[in-house]
């Protein structure tokens, strides 16, 4: 996974995950279909108008199709903070190099330079250029100083802590007391494991929780409930630890 680090105006470094070519191509496909649909709607309207006033409908159609061709991406990216319907569906978004939302001019530049990207055939230049730089930027992105990143909203690790926190009060206080004897690194490891458990593969997850549960059972002299899984036990420990200060 390629990360793009920016420094906010508050001088705090934040990282964005650079979007892959697959997600971007799919987003483009969705947008292509949608803009073709929009063009078609305009063409139908134009045909009706053409019956009433020969020529005028054709003129309107030509202008409308051209406006969709040029304006679709620019307008959406500008209004939806770097997202078109396709990008929204695929969970990617255009941002400026410095990490801010894409401006109108930058979006216009990257979408006009698309005309060079599609050359010589089917985005050939775009693919070659995107493959040759770290952030998968096509020519339009280079000219506009933009890049496409994944929108991050899957992380809800804080809620995960409470998944298993239904231990009764007396047991909880005992646990807290024992947990207080842990060193900082051990606490950290415990919390980290719980927070990141969804990122682990099933086998590793089971193995890690088994080892961890065994370690803390011995270290804290605590026993899990009957039929309680290793993972549940460790989660309850973490929950007790998280609640300690409150």
């Amino acid at each position: 996974m390629i990360l793009h680090e920016v420094l906010t105006t508050e001088k705090v470094p934040i990282t964005y995950r650079v979007a892959g070519l697959g997600a971007r191509s799919l987003a483009w496909l969705v947008d292509l279909l949608l803009s073709a649909l929009l063009g078609l709607i305009g063409a139908c309207f134009g045909m009706v108008l053409d019956v009433a006033r020969p020529g005028l409908g054709a003129g309107v159609t030509i202008l409308w199709v051209f406006a969709v061709f040029l304006g679709y991406s620019v307008l959406f990216e500008w209004l939806w903070q770097g997202q078109t319907p396709g990008k929204r569906l695929l969970g990617v978004r255009v941002i400026e190099w410095r990490g801010t939302a894409v401006s109108f001019v930058a979006s216009a530049v990257r979408n006009v330079v698309r005309m060079a990207d599609v050359l010589p055939l089917g985005y050939g230049l775009a693919f070659v250029v995107a493959a040759c730089n770290r952030e998968n930027r096509r020519l339009g992105d280079l000219a506009a100083g933009t890049l496409v990143v994944y929108v991050e909203r899957q992380a809800k690790p804080i809620l995960a802590l409470h998944a298993g926190g239904d231990a009764d009060r007396a047991r909880l206080s005992l646990w807290r007391q024992r947990l207080g004897t842990l060193g900082r690194e051990q606490k950290q490891a415990l919390l980290d494991l719980c927070l990141r458990r969804d990122q682990l593969r099933v086998g590793e997850r089971a193995r890690l929780f088994r080892t961890t549960a065994a370690f803390f059972q011995e270290r804290l002299d605590l026993a899990p409930d009957e039929y309680e899984s290793d993972e549940k036990f460790v989660l309850q420990l973490a929950a007790a630890l998280g609640d300690r200060a409150g």
Partner: protein, 332 residues
């Protein structure tokens, strides 16, 4: 600091920031009232500071990730979105654009020189070796442009408003596409843009020779000049923007090339965007004046239109916008 204490203390504010953020991402910053806006700013700064702290003192990777995503989203929502002001846009077109044009006049001259060289080459080739030059140099759809036979009267019917609308929209979209492509091809180190200028010159030169040979220079002039005096400069502006872009890639600067390219890209776009109103005017004039049958508009009148349009274009780019700083970045 202890991670659990840290989480415990800061969690409510992060939750609150998430809530506000959901709303802002859904319906925009403007839906927040004053108090909420202030709160949003405060929550964002606190979260940014928490992230900073987490990166330094807490090794909890997931916490840092979570905060990173939260702050990243808030950062995008808060910074870097300028509202477009219609009045400012008009002001820019009137005064800002001529200054931008003059700033890159050198690029415009270079594009013009390439175009002129192409014209000369096309003319000479077409004049002295017509049988080879014309089929090779002219695009297939242009071979139908032929001078009228000796003594043949212009019997083209006058176009109705509907046809006029269709024809001018076709011309506008076509020319705009060519102009924007000339700009976009600047990404090929300017080679593509330069070639487009040269090639469009060739076409003009070849056709010129065709009409001269038939002794109809007047027909050629009236057919091309009324709109050509703005259409050709508009296309040259596209070429100039492309050359500027190419220069941005090639030129060494004290800062990274990617940064220079992004800066120049916006400038070049500013330059080419001014060609669009010119192309609207050119399309209307071409459909309405230049292609009007001779029995409707005399060639003298057409040439007069060409003169007036040409002079107004020169006056626009030469006289307006002095004495105030043009929009867009100055060349450092």
């Amino acid at each position: 600091m202890d991670l659990s204490t840290f989480l415990q203390q800061r969690r409510p504010e992060w939750r609150r920031l998430e809530e506000v953020l959901e709303r802002v991402e859904g319906s925009g910053l403007s839906t927040l009232d004053d108090d909420q806006a202030v709160e949003f700013g405060r929550l964002y700064r606190r979260a940014a500071s928490d992230l900073n702290q987490a990166q330094t003192f807490v090794s909890g990777d997931a916490t840092v990730r979570f905060l990173n995503d939260l702050v990243g989203r808030a950062y995008l929502a808060i910074y870097g979105k300028a509202r477009i002001d219609l009045w400012a846009l008009l002001r820019h077109l009137a005064w800002g654009y001529p200054a931008v044009f003059r700033r890159y006049f050198g690029h415009f001259l270079l594009a013009t020189a390439l175009f002129a060289a192409g014209t000369l080459f096309g003319f000479l080739a077409s004049y002295f070796d017509a049988s080879t030059a014309r089929p090779y140099l002219l695009p297939a759809e242009m071979s139908m442009i032929q001078p009228r036979g000796e003594g043949e009267a212009d019997t083209t019917p006058l176009m109705g408003t509907g046809e006029l609308a269709a024809f001018s929209s076709f011309l506008f979209t076509n020319n705009t596409r060519v102009t924007l492509l000339a700009f976009a091809l600047g990404m090929t180190l300017g080679v593509g843009s330069a070639w487009m200028m040269f090639y469009n010159g060739i076409i003009t030169g070849v056709l010129w020779a065709v009409f001269i040979e038939a002794g109809q220079w007047r027909t050629f002039a009236t057919g091309i000049l009324p709109h050509g005096v703005v259409e050709i400069p508009a296309m040259l502006i596209g070429g100039a923007a492309g050359l500027l872009l190419g220069q941005g890639i090639l030129r060494a600067r004290p800062w990274p090339r990617a940064e220079e390219l992004a800066r120049v890209g916006k400038e070049a776009f500013l330059l080419v965007s001014g060609a669009v109103p010119l192309l609207v005017a050119a399309a209307l004039i071409e459909a309405g004046v230049a292609r009007a049958p001779d029995w409707f508009l005399s060639s003298g009148l057409k040439l007069a239109v060409a003169g007036v349009v040409g002079l107004s274009f020169v006056a626009y780019v030469a006289l307006l916008g002095w004495g105030r700083r043009a929009a867009g970045g100055e060349t450092p």
